[in-house]
């Protein structure tokens, strides 16, 4: 389902990623680990199709679910619209169900600033999982959350993933273990 053969990725003269090969089948989970600045997010952006400026090849599903560390919600639209705008084909019922799944039932008319940080992340997760995409890419989705919220979000992610493949970018090996991910440690590739 996902096949990446990355020879090199440059930023100017600097090589930021090299010789990375990833193969992921349906339902498999992979965590990309490593310290800040090692190229985790760059690799995720390549996989999500946001950066095609690299040498190598990529075969990925057409539709990918993506979530960044920051919820990146449309602050000027309510929770329902935040899902509907990014998923125009989704019915109102499926949007309400998605909100129910992430514990935001009854919050569809709430604006992001009326939601707590945890609820905002849940809404971002709902947006990410709504379309039933085969591949889900999460960039530090549990960063800067307290322990209980982190646990809560991990369980929610695990439940929503079901049969889908996951690429998880994280600093925390614990996140990868909790979600049963294979590990690609980019720090091991540092010179």
């Amino acid at each position: 389902m996902l096949k990446l053969n990355l020879k090199e990725k440059h930023f100017g003269d600097e090589v930021v990623l090299s010789k990375i090969s990833i193969q992921l089948k349906k339902g498999e989970r992979l965590a990309i680990l490593g310290p800040s600045g090692v190229g985790k997010t760059t690799l995720l952006r390549i996989i999500a199709g946001l950066d095609s400026d690299f040498s190598g090849s990529l075969s990925a599903p057409d539709n990918v679910g993506l979530m960044f560390q920051s919820p990146n919600l449309l602050l000027w639209r309510n929770a329902h619209d935040n899902l509907a705008i990014f998923h125009p084909k989704a019915s109102s019922q499926s949007i309400e169900k998605a909100l129910l799944d992430v514990g935001l039932a009854g919050k569809s008319l709430h604006y992001p600033h009326q939601l707590s940080l945890g609820q905002q992340r849940r809404l971002a997760l709902a947006r990410c999982f709504l379309a039933d995409d085969e591949l889900i890419c999460l960039d530090e989705p549990f960063a800067s959350l307290d322990d209980s919220l982190r646990l809560d979000m991990r369980e929610l992610t695990d439940r929503l993933l079901q049969h889908r493949a996951l690429i998880l970018v994280t600093h925390f090996a614990g996140d990868a273990e909790a979600l049963g991910c294979q590990i690609l440690n980019l720090s091991a590739k540092l010179p």
């Binding site: 999500a48 199709g49 993506l66 960044f68 920051s70 990146n72 449309l74 125009p88 379309a131």
Partner: protein, 252 residues
């Protein structure tokens, strides 16, 4: 009546008191007429039918120049804010135009294009575009890159991106540029009319006429009439528009 409105009214009353006191102290209506004398002059201008055609002519120029400057400035500012190469190309031009005195652009437009409406609108627009461009560029620079990435990943059509992401992110900058623009544009229009005479109508031209006969009351009457119109636009149009665009913030 809200406390804010009460304070505004009180502040306006104080201004009138200061003005009246100073006019009374100077005791020279030819130099500084009282608010009552100016009000009487405004009434006379209305009754004789002199005010509206001039007001309308100036307002028309303001609207044309404002619309043109906002459109060009928004497009240029957005492109410069989101595209480093485009910004590198146009930034020296922007700095140059920001620093050319308004008077020079006005004089050159009047010489090159002639004493006509096109020269007036061109001069005002050229003076205003750099400011709008600068404000919108900053807004575009501060816009979220990740939201655009999400729009790309979720394959949002271009028009949906403009409607749901780009414009809402730029609204504060657009309203800020509009407000700053309006306050600058009408002053420049008056200067152009004052210098160029334009089509024979306009508040600036009338101020020129009043100035040449040293009728300070007339200068005040025309100027205050136009300030009143601009304030009406601010309170009746810009502020309601701004509160409508920021309606979501009030849902706390």
């Amino acid at each position: 009546m809200s406390r804010g409105t009460q304070i505004r009214l009180l502040s306006f009353t104080l201004l009138l008191i200061f003005w009246s006191s100073f006019a009374w102290y100077k005791a020279d209506p030819q130099l500084l007429p009282s608010p009552l004398a100016v009000a009487a002059e405004v009434q006379s201008l209305i009754e004789t039918g002199k005010l509206w055609p001039n007001l309308f002519a100036t307002l028309q120029r303001v609207v044309f120049a404002f619309t043109l400057a906002m459109f060009i400035g928004c497009v240029l500012g957005y492109c410069m804010g989101r595209n480093a190469n485009f910004n590198a190309w146009l930034d020296p031009w922007l700095i140059m135009f920001l620093n050319i005195p308004a008077l020079i652009i006005i004089v050159l437009c009047l010489i090159w294009i002639g004493l006509n409406e096109i020269a007036v609108v061109t001069a005002v627009t050229l003076n205003k575009v750099p400011l709008v461009t600068t404000i919108i560029r900053e807004g575009a620079r501060n816009a979220s890159t990740e939201l655009r990435d999400l729009a790309k990943v979720y394959k949002l059509p271009r028009m949906a991106q403009v409607r749901h992401i780009i414009l809402p992110e730029l609204y504060p900058s657009i309203v800020g540029a509009a407000r700053a623009g309006l306050s600058v544009i009408w002053k420049i229009v008056l200067v152009v009319e004052f210098l160029g005479g334009s089509s024979g109508r306009g508040i600036g031209l009338q101020i020129h006429t009043q100035f040449s006969v040293f009728n300070v009351t007339g200068v005040f009457a025309y100027a205050i009439s136009f300030v009143a119109v601009i304030m009406l636009i601010e309170f009746a149009l810009l502020q309601p528009l701004e509160s409508r665009l920021n309606k979501w913030r009030g849902h706390a």
